[in-house]
Amino acid sequence: MNNHREMANKTSIGDKLRTYLKHPGSFITMLLVMLAAVITFAVLIFLIAYILVNGVPHIKPSLFSLEYSSENASVVPAFVNTIAMTLLSLIIAVPFGIFSAIFLVEYAKRGNKFVEVIRLTTETLSGIPSIVYGLFGMLFFVNALGWGFSLLAGAFTIAIMILPLIMRTTEEALKAVPDSYREGSFGLGAGKLRTVFRIVLPSAIPGVLAGVILAIGRIVGETAALMYTSGTVAQIPDSIMGSGRTLALHMYVLSSEGLYMDQAYATAVILLVLVVGINALSSVIARKLTKA
């Protein structure tokens, strides 16, 4: 029924629709694509609205006190910790991720066994559940290396976790750079290294950035891996060797005993704002980098 009406509607609109009449398969595909997009965004808007409706009424000035106490459930320390944690883990993971992607795409020979091993290990890494990372981080960074519950231990654990994401996306982006760019650069007498850093990598930046943004999403949303590594102290630590909880962890702790549900939703709103901010910032940076 619906389909018929839509077809009728369409024939009156445009030229291109006649093509759809000739190719009903294409028309159905187009409808499916539209339907999927509508479902995705309807779900998304519903979810965001759910968070806002539950959280916004509970955002109070006391939530932004400088020090956390059980009365105000302040998000400020957790906010600062989240940013510190994001920066730290990106500093560790991004160079490793980009360099290994460069190795895989630009240096390793096609079909090399070693490349396959690396690919398999990164895929394995991306499949390990965060709770296992958390346990591993606790035994290795916290206990074996003696760092204690600290931002640093958390950042290293998270860095391993996001490494495959950054590697995969960078790899795809590097592969998409046409070989003619490389050949042109070699033809002008540039060395391999120069070609990689001056020609290939800059054109791959949007792809790399997509990976970084996904990674940031995982970092700020992570709880299980951080609970056992960076600890759950609700204050800003003096150094990266101190323990502190991020916003997501803060939310988890607030919600786990059911005593601070309102504040937990309010925290979620702030977390959303933070993600929007970080994403906007990174697209600004990307624009700057691609222009330069």
Partner: protein, 297 residues
Amino acid sequence: MRSKAWTEKFMQGVFFVAACASILAVALICVFLFANGIPAMREIGFIKFLTGEIWRPNSEQFGILPMIVGSLYVTAGAIIFGVPIGILTSVFMAMYCPKQIYKPLKAATELLAGIPSVIYGFFGLVVVVPLIREFGTTLYKAGLVKSPGNGNSILTASLILGMMILPTIIGTTESAMRAVPAHYYEGSLALGATKERSIFRVIIPAAKSGVIAGIVLGIGRAIGETMAVIMIVGNQARLTGSILDGIRTLTGNIVIEMGYATGLHREALIATGVVLFVFILIINFSVALLKRGADHE
């Protein structure tokens, strides 16, 4: 000139070392997991551990078959819901989306990736669980299913997980599709193919490796997700035949009980982690094989 050659060699070394980091990480995690998990498995008995249907740690019964099946069910469900919608949405984002609304939509999908699991969990608990309960009761009254379930079910978890893997799939698939050179698409149109045919017959096959990478990342996320799943899947450690019933997943088993477990119980949980790890290895191996098969075609 010589110093330049040296820099080239040196940087190649640096890239190589960076590439080895992931191997090192997997090796370390392997060592830690196996060292802690294998002794417990031996104590319980490999076969008994893997095929046992009863999990009662307090009476020393450690069978994780229900959890293995649970993880399979829930992940398969997430793929059924998440992958088609995710890929079609990325087609929309890459090929159909009007310029004016592209930016806000893109920002929205990125936002979806940053929402903590706990929020998805509460959303599922308050919004999806009652809907599924209603759905189950309707089916039950119509005589289509044996038990109505109570909303905390495999179906609910699949839906929520499908939602959670969307941003991963959309992000990687879309960028892979955008990376396909424009003349592929234009060439196909010029040959008289419709837009849809060009997309699904030319662009997606050309972007195949990126699309597969996105799906694999999504599957990884679905198997590994815990915090949201344990809130909505019921966590009953027993086998079931209905997707309206609850079940427990491998990750859920670890997270739920790790907090209080001691002694053999704790080791059995780490052994659960080992099984999960082997699971992921198997999936990755089969994907690698599939890919190789596809490449040879």
